[in-house]
């Protein structure tokens, strides 16, 4: 079903699903925990009753509502991170500033609070030995239950650790390889999430155990003094460390589940309308491809292009149709325009980054008028009669104007000297370190957007391949040379990435995201070109391509692939 709505509707719908599922799954986990905690195999009826009683008691809900509210707040604030354009920090200073932004500080606080409250909630709804922070002892006085104190404190620590270690580092959405039903994705991911949570939460628990061992007594005494609590005689047993691990794992699981939901709902493919029904108002596939303001929409649009090119002859047909009235291929034109824009901008960004010495093309002083030879559109119906004589070529032979050059004077020398001193000073004082551009920041930025190129290049190549059978008017052919040329240029720029030392396997190892993405983008562009060459195999010589491009296709794509 094609949806006609604005970006905001689309994103809000996806995000609201994610937030709601997060909150509800928290509720479910709690229920499940109570159910497990009350396990009583010999009296199943009592087991059920107790579970039911706990879950319906007012005290549980009084505890639960604030917790769910905090989870909700956390989800809503996190949601922003997923949809809003992430600005790439090119200097260390920027990175430093961004780490201490208000947004991050609020999130950090929320993570810490959620960590503590979830531990507290789980402890208090189960009738274990740690269900209360304080308890009556030695007559009338209140004592501190150190086990409970230890666990709640660990909740704070886990929240803090998780935020610093995991949340700050990974915020990009991972699109699944195949798009199955959401329930199936949940089912297949649940096991790995649990395993990963148990695995990853080991170290923070270990660190906390260590920290508490060192400063635990001090913290406990501060707390006791503040609330005038007494010491309890019985100390928690070593079993408490397993509780510690369990609650850290539970926290990790909750957070990972939340991230999973965001991933699940945001990466779900959307069908964008191909035809612009109401002018300018609704979102179309073509415009969304270059919508840099909402990266997730842009990603979804490219994904949709990829999927429709492969699966939907009906939707493909919209690109090969002519407008009525007028007979113009508006849909196709806007698609090509946007895809080419995406590809060329990507190529430019890459070229800017790689900083390889480029061949300098000296432009002639007066450019000759470009004359379109009859060859350029040989495949289109030829309106004019072909007559070689009607093209009169103008010979332009003007000598270059005389250039006056001054000898470098003293001033220039001084300024150069000053500049080098200034550069040296910047290096010495650490200005370069803080404000200088980070190496390969742009490459990283490029590669983070690699999916866009992967999908759009494959999408456009599949549409071109399908056009041989489906394109009745030969609309695609007029743009074939320019599409091939820009893909080849992109491929050439990508090839240069191999020379960037920070992206070689020796430097980063196989697990590096950038290294892998480089391979994926290169392979996708190569496959796209191969696909076009293969489907236009017999007509490849008829496409007016420049000699360089043609040679590149022959040598690098068809032969070498």
């Amino acid at each position: 079903m094609e949806q006609t709505c604005t970006y905001k509707d689309l994103l809000l719908r996806k995000l609201s699903y994610a937030v709601t599922s997060s909150v509800f799954s928290q509720l479910f986990i709690l229920q499940f925990y109570v159910f497990l905690f009350n396990t009583n195999v010999f009296y199943p009826l009592e087991w059920m009753q107790r579970t039911f009683r706990t879950m319906t008691s007012i005290s549980t809900w009084i505890f639960m509502v604030p917790f769910l509210a905090i989870i909700f707040a956390q989800c809503v604030i996190c949601a922003k991170d997923y949809v809003v354009k992430s600005s790439y920090c090119s200097t260390r200073f920027q990175k430093f500033l961004r780490a201490f932004s208000l947004h991050n500080i609020i999130l950090l606080l929320l993570h810490i609070i959620v960590g503590a409250t979830s531990t507290w909630l789980f402890l208090s709804i189960s009738d274990g030995q740690y269900n209360n922070l304080t308890e009556v002892c030695k007559g009338d006085a209140y004592c501190l239950n150190e086990g409970s104190f230890f666990l709640i404190l660990s909740g704070l620590w886990t929240g803090f650790y998780f935020f610093l270690k995991v949340y700050v580092a990974e915020k990009n959405l991972a699109f699944p390889v195949i798009h199955q039903r959401k329930f199936l994705q949940l089912k297949s991911q649940l096991g790995p999430i649990i395993r990963e949570s148990a695995h990853l939460s080991f170290w923070p628990s270990f660190y906390f155990g260590l920290i508490y061992f060192i400063v635990g007594d001090l913290l406990a005494s501060i707390f006791k003094d503040a609330f005038a609590l007494l010491d309890r005689e019985e100390r928690p047993t070593a079993l408490i460390y397993s509780h510690l691990w369990f609650f850290s794992a539970l926290y990790y699981f909750n957070m990972n589940l939340m991230r999973f939901y965001f991933n699940l709902f945001l990466t779900e493919p959307v069908q964008f309308p191909v035809v612009n029904a109401q002018l300018g108002t609704s979102l179309t596939l073509q415009d969304s491809i270059t919508n840099y303001d909402w990266p997730i929409v842009q990603n979804l649009a490219c994904l949709d292009l990829h999927l429709l090119s492969r699966w939907s002859p009906v939707r493909r047909q919209a690109f090969f149709a002519l407008s009525n009235p007028g007979g113009h291929p508006h849909n196709w034109n806007s698609l090509v325009e946007n895809v080419l824009k995406l590809v060329t901008e990507y190529t430019q960004l890459l070229n800017k980054t790689i900083d390889l010495p480029e061949k300098k093309v000296v432009p002639p002083i007066i450019q000759a008028p470009i004359i379109q030879g009859p060859d350029k559109f040989r495949n289109l119906r030829n309106m004019a009669l072909l007559d070689e004589d009607c093209y009169s070529y103008i010979d332009i032979s003007k000598s270059a104007p005389v250039e006056f050059s001054f000898k470098p004077n003293v001033l220039d020398g001084i300024s150069a000297k000053l500049k080098s001193i200034w550069n040296f000073l910047k290096l010495i004082t650490g200005v370069n370190f803080l404000f200088g551009e980070l190496p390969q920041a742009n490459v990283r930025k490029c590669l983070a957007n690699g999916n866009l190129i992967i999908w759009s290049s494959q999408g456009i190549s599949d549409i071109i391949a399908a056009s041989l059978d489906e394109d009745k008017f030969g609309i695609v052919q007029k743009d074939l040379p320019v599409i091939i040329s820009s893909l080849v240029q992109l491929k050439q720029s990508l090839d240069k990435l191999n020379k960037v030392p920070a992206l070689t396997r020796k430097m980063v190892g196989y697990d590096d995201f950038n290294y892998r993405m480089k391979g994926a983008v290169t392979a996708a562009v190569r496959r796209s070109l191969f696909n076009i060459c293969r489907s236009f195999n017999d007509y490849l010589r008829d496409i007016p391509l420049s000699k360089d491009i043609f040679q590149y296709l022959q040598v690098q794509i068809i032969c070498k692939s």
Binding site: V177, I178, R181, Y510, F530, K560, S561
Partner: protein, 488 residues
């Protein structure tokens, strides 16, 4: 149901060499000269891998038997064992040491390791892979463990042939080029299958015991052993041994089945990301086949269940066999039909796959039954025994011909697939090898315009081409294609 009696066996002392316009031709063994019948496969690489061409596999301990044991100091012995066989063996050695303290510590460590392994097995039952015997039992290659040729794969566009041999390597043969690269590395052990990547001239995925390696062979370079550092190594702990792999027709996804993993993995090879297809039934999978049109995928488990997946929605249609498991299967009829045979029943079945229908429920699909098409029970044709339980079967890319290898008999039967009114298998010819030769792997060439070319790997290491040529197709003017000329 028709049976193998309808076949005409080649007369005594003769072997079938080709099929021209529906007529099988055979000549005497000594005079087998294909070029007198057709010139279509003249440029195909001639492959005969003899035992002395094979590399020795490092895993065997044969060399050890040649040396007499000598007394070396315990520490030296321990170091040697640690380097050659790893930590566990070293611990076993330490356990047998005379000194009580050392043996006690080693024993304690071994017990701990055993318990950890047990816990791991409970957490993750897929880790229980026993060894190559399982591959031998479940695979489609006949006598996998002992045969020189384990698998053959034709390139989808060019005339390149990849031959998997029992020395854990893959040899690439090209027509018109004597240069044959060898793909071999230490991670690549017990290869089960290989598949060329579509939309690429140089990449090939090799499925082995522990995972998949996607090699890239640069046609412009003359390095005979491509380096594994340019290859992509795909590996998941619980996904082994990889039994079967298949590329999506556009070459962007790779799907793999493993005998000890209940999930089928769909890979994005470059990003090393997977999605898993998991449904109840069976604890491992042995076969995946992508339909030639690309919209359906056939998978079968090591139990009763087999499935047909829709590539677009990744929903599946569940089928069960009465007993045993699906031994081999292939797509025919432009992806409309699956032909399969089970491991207990000498019958070839056909299954018509619904198209353009959203798979609603299991109940609905199971109302249609697979049609038994051909009875392949063991039969004597003069002095030649053919038939029996099916080992493997392959159909040509156009879906007109079917070749079948049997578990006990050494003749390959070729059928023509007819689909006028109903699906039918028409006996066509019998391909036999030389004396004592058994077929181990079969495949069809992917891009032969003038018909089909069955390629049989025999147990002797010889590869035979059996062209099935239609002269009216062959006569069509060959377009001067830049593509074809360069790629070959």
């Amino acid at each position: 149901m028709r049976n193998l009696q309808d076949f005409d066996a080649p007369s005594n002392g003769e072997i079938s060499v080709c099929e021209l316009n529906g007529k099988a031709h055979s000549t005497a063994i000594g005079f087998a000269n294909l070029s007198s019948f057709t010139s279509c496969i003249e440029s195909h690489p001639q492959v005969h891998i003899t035992r002395d061409q094979l590399y020795s596999t490092t895993s065997s301990d044969e060399g050890k038997a040649l040396f007499l044991p000598v007394d070396v100091s315990f520490l030296k012995q321990l170091t040697q064992v640690y380097y050659e066989q790893g930590t566990i063996e070293a611990l076993y050695l330490a356990k047998s040491h005379k000194q009580a303290l050392v043996s006690h510590i080693a024993n304690g460590l071994l017990t701990a390791i055993r318990y950890i392994e047990k816990v791991r097995l409970i957490m993750n039952p897929n880790v229980r892979y026993s060894g190559p015997a399982l591959i031998c039992k479940l695979g489609t290659t006949r006598d996998w463990q002992n045969s020189t040729i384990r698998s053959i794969a034709w390139h989808p566009y060019g005339r390149k042939l990849a031959v998997v041999t029992c020395d854990d390597s893959v040899r690439i043969f090209c027509s018109e080029s004597s240069y044959s690269p060898l793909l071999r590395c230490k991670q690549q052990r017990n290869i089960t299958c290989a598949a060329w990547r579509p939309m690429s001239a140089t990449e090939i995925a090799v499925g082995h015991e522990n995972g998949i390696i996607v090699w890239s062979i640069d046609a412009n370079s003359l390095v005979s052993r491509p380096s594994v550092s340019n290859a992509i190594i795909l590996h998941r702990l619980e996904h082994k041994p990889v039994m079967s792999i298949a590329w999506s027709p556009k070459g962007d996804m790779l799907i793999s089945a493993a005998a000890c993993d209940s999930a089928i993995l769909v890979w994005n090879p470059e990003l090393d990301r997977t999605s898993s297809l998991k449904r109840p039934g069976g604890c491992g999978h042995v076969l995946v086949k992508w339909s030639p049109t690309g919209d359906k995928i056939f998978t079968c488990s090591d139990g009763l269940v087999f499935r047909v997946w829709d590539h677009r929605t990744w929903e599946c249609d569940r089928w069960t066999v009465a007993s045993g498991r699906v031994q081999s299967a292939c797509w025919a009829n432009c992806g409309h039909t699956v032909l399969f045979a089970t491991s207990t029943d000498p019958v070839i079945y056909g299954l018509i796959v619904k198209r353009d229908v959203i798979f609603a429920s299991d109940v609905e699909s199971s109302s249609i039954e697979a049609i038994p098409l051909f009875d392949v029970s063991k039969t004597d044709l003069f002095d030649l025994t053919v038939g029996g339980l099916v080992q493997s079967m392959e159909a040509d890319p156009a879906g007109n011909h079917l070749a079948v290898v049997f578990q006990d008999t050494s003749a390959v039967t070729v059928f023509t697939i007819a689909r006028q009114s109903a699906l039918q298998l028409i006996p066509s010819s019998i391909v036999t090898g030389l004396a004592e030769e058994k077929p181990t792997a079969i495949t069809f060439q992917q891009d032969l315009k003038s018909g089909a070319c069955l390629t049989v790997g025999w147990s002797s290491g010889r590869i035979q081409y059996y062209p099935i040529i239609y002269s009216d197709l062959a006569k069509q003017p060959a377009k001067i294609s830049m593509f074809g000329s360069i790629i070959n």
